[in-house]
């Protein structure tokens, strides 16, 4: 039995307010990423203090975590697009190496 072959990719995680999330999702799609995972209503503590998580009747004011995985050739364009968006809002971005077993899903 052989270990599965893993392919190196880049994972980008972005936390922004719900109202800014559509712009991030649109950007991810526009640079050719094949998908993303979105988690709404996340809470946390940061530069702007504690941020409440899920609000009962307001999804736009809550924070959203958006995760995408892209191959190396796409990362530069994605970061180039994300930087101005995050410079203008209170969101954060984490970029890490990651490995996937089915690279065709991501490119």
């Amino acid at each position: 039995m052989t270990a599965p072959v893993l392919t190196k990719m880049t994972k980008v995680e972005v936390v922004v307010s719900g109202s800014d999330a559509p712009a991030v999702r649109e950007l991810i799609q526009s640079i050719g990423a094949t998908g993303y995972t979105s988690l709404s209503g996340v809470s946390g503590l940061g530069h702007h203090g504690y941020h409440q998580g899920r609000l009962l009747f307001n999804q736009q004011a809550a924070l959203e975590l958006i995760i995408t995985v892209v191959p190396q050739p796409r990362i530069e364009a994605l970061l180039a697009g994300l930087r101005p968006l995050l410079d203008a809002s209170s969101g954060v971005m984490f970029v890490t190496e990651t490995f996937v077993s089915r690279p065709d899903y991501f490119s």
């Binding site: 307010s17 559509p22 712009a23 649109e26 950007l27 526009s30 640079i31 702007h48 203090g49 504690y50 941020h51 409440q52 609000l55 009962l56 009747f57 307001n58 999804q59 736009q60 004011a61 050739p73 796409r74 530069e76 364009a77 994605l78 180039a80 697009g81 994300l82 930087r83 101005p84 968006l85 203008a88 209170s90």
Partner: protein, 852 residues
Amino acid sequence: MTADIESRRAQLRSDVSLAGRLLPTHYPLETFIAVNPLAGLEGMPFEQATRRAGDLYGMRGTLREFDFREFHRAGRITDGDLDRALMRRYPNLSDAPEVVLGDRSMSRLELLRADLMYGTTTPEPKRSYRTRSETQAPAIIEAVDTQTAKWCAAFFGGASWPMPGRENGFYAAWRALAPADRKVPRAARAELRRAAVCAEDAVLDALSKLGVDDDARIAYLQAHLTRMPGWAAHVQWSAGRNAGIDLLDYLAMRLTYESALLAHHRGSLPAGRSEELTGIPSARQRATHLIEVLGLADVSDSEISAAARVLTAVPVPAREMLWQNAFEANCRDDLLSRLASPDMPVAVDEVHTHLVSCIDTRSEGLRRHLESLDGYQTLGFAGFFAVAIRFTDLLGGPPSDLCPVLISPSHEVREVTDPDMSDAAARQVAGLRGLAGAESAFHSAKESLAAPFTLAEAAGWVAAPLFAAKTLAPATTAGARRRLLGAVAPAAPTMLDLDAMPLDDRVLFAQVALTTMGLTYGFGRLVVLCGHGSTAENNPYQASLDCGACGGQQGGPNARTAVAVFNQPAVRDRLRDLGIDIPADTCFVAAQHDTATDRVVLLDTHLVPATHLGDISRLSRDLTYAGSALAAERCAVLPGTPRALSQGRAVRHVRTRADDWAQVYPEWGLVGNAAFIVAPRDVTRGIDLQRRAFLHSYEADIDQDGSALETILTAPLVVAQWINCQYYFSTVAPEVFGAGTKTIHNVVGRVGVIAGHTGDLRLGLPWQSVSDGEKLLHEPMRLLAAVQAPLDRIDTICDRNPILQRLFGNDWVTVAAREHPREQWQRWSRTGWRPWTESLSGATIHPEEIVQ
């Protein structure tokens, strides 16, 4: 190289997103929702945001000084209000030495007040974000605007002849068609033919040709977006809804036109900005003007200079905001002083019926009149009653999302036939479909190319008299139509299918609704959940009169859904485990208030048990009384109403207006809205708030963890603030954020209206929604949130919700709070709570404005 262009495209996309943030959200007519048109600027203090908006749109941020001075003459603003507004902004004014002008000595406060009342008025704001062609060749930007209006109307209009290639998306369709447009000069057409295949590249090319640097790009894009904010806002709304258009496509078209037309422009091109803002008098000119107005003699040069130094502290553009603050303070002080104090009697009736209505300001009148009768206690709650549903009615057409736009619907609810009445329901469905089909065929024929000629021959003999009757006798015609409807499609009892809503969700929603409104014990025999809607004729803006909490639609289905849940034994059993014991003899009932006629209709009465039919009869009778009393009250302020009508005639008059297809004032909607009160009903009961306050019930004692208050402040308050700002800016800046007069509106597809036959899509409310044509009916004031709750609870909620920090901290909403009626109202500020009456509380002192 490929990676580089991909990065540039991605950066451009982000810049377009950022530029588009300042645009208001524009919902289509069918789901018109009130919004704050300056929501994108809420990160700034209100005053700064309105100045920025002035730069962007050339719009006003407040009423004119002339209007405020009229209010002052009418006593709506007093000298004391002005002095307190000045003192709040310039706290050291009272300690400063007096100013001597000739034989008269004045305090600095008096001098500044005189400047407010008599000073030369503020010049109108002008756009300072301008495109190349706007500054260099105005005819070209006019041409770009004309093309924009033409192609947007073609794409969105839903005309009988759809835009060729529309299915390929806006940019591709435009790129294929535009070069053949003979109204564009030949040389420019050649440029259009060379437009890039992809919209990103077209924008980058055009910006390069126009000489716009990357650093200036966002501002330049904003200059284009704010030229026609209506179409731009609708394009932004459409993006992400698979409409085939986004802001990038829209800007690609505009910028390509601009660069193509400018490249072949033969006129002279003046460099840079052609003009700057002028017309603001110097401080010395202001002082001299005041000396003349006040009739002061023997004023020396040094005295004029001293007065000028004082006036320098209040720049002319800041004066309007001082007036605004004084105007609001007058209204707020009066309201807070009227809200119940411990020595005021509070009704302690034996409650047989609770009526829960929407927080909408129009509900206040209905509640007041109903509570004048024995045994009624009313509450306020968001009109979707906490059930966010996607509703499909009996006809089975496209479902409607009935919930605030802040959230997505959680459950599908269908209207189904009552098993015992399936034949009647089938007859109703067949009748309604037949009528809808006939109406659809008539309108289709009317809008196609040749059919109108045939239609006139075939249907003119019946249509002409019908239209004449609708005009001359609207009430009679509407009555006949209702009778026809009743005959062809008699109403059949129906039910709602809630199977898609799990029991846990039903229990959760029921618990949240009851604890948030503070009704967890002492239930009456009837608990009425009363939604609302409006039934005016021939009004493209009808959705603006429906329930904002239900996505700009009527709230009846939400009330029916909530009632069905509350009446389920399984839900009540689980609520009992949670400490909420709804007695077995309490029956929930749904109703809908028609705010145009003030008729209240009880819904699903066939589901009411026989034991409660007597209660229903009494309720129906009392609602008729309350509705009639409210209609008569409203009649007095509707334009064109004959004077001194009896109550009966006033009610008939109000209801006839709703049936009149030529009536541009069917009702006043939420005109006058100024406050959002979060408190037990005891605080407001018995007070005539003149339909100016949103009323949300809240009992702090049963919300120890503050979750109910957090829900109220982060959702209903936010929606109320949108409504408040929509009315505010439709009033102070009607050219940009108002829809103009209804009399020249043309509806474009389902997206909105334009004034006349071309131009920008109009934003905001029609002029007839805020004015009677001669004078303003809406007094534009920012929202006051008056909250009865522990102050530290409000602080905790505010600390963890940036949206509240923005609204409160940037003066979009003012918060007054007290924990108990025994205590004085406190004002929220970034630096802590201060007594409401303290002039210096929370003063914002800008260094350059401190009086020397």
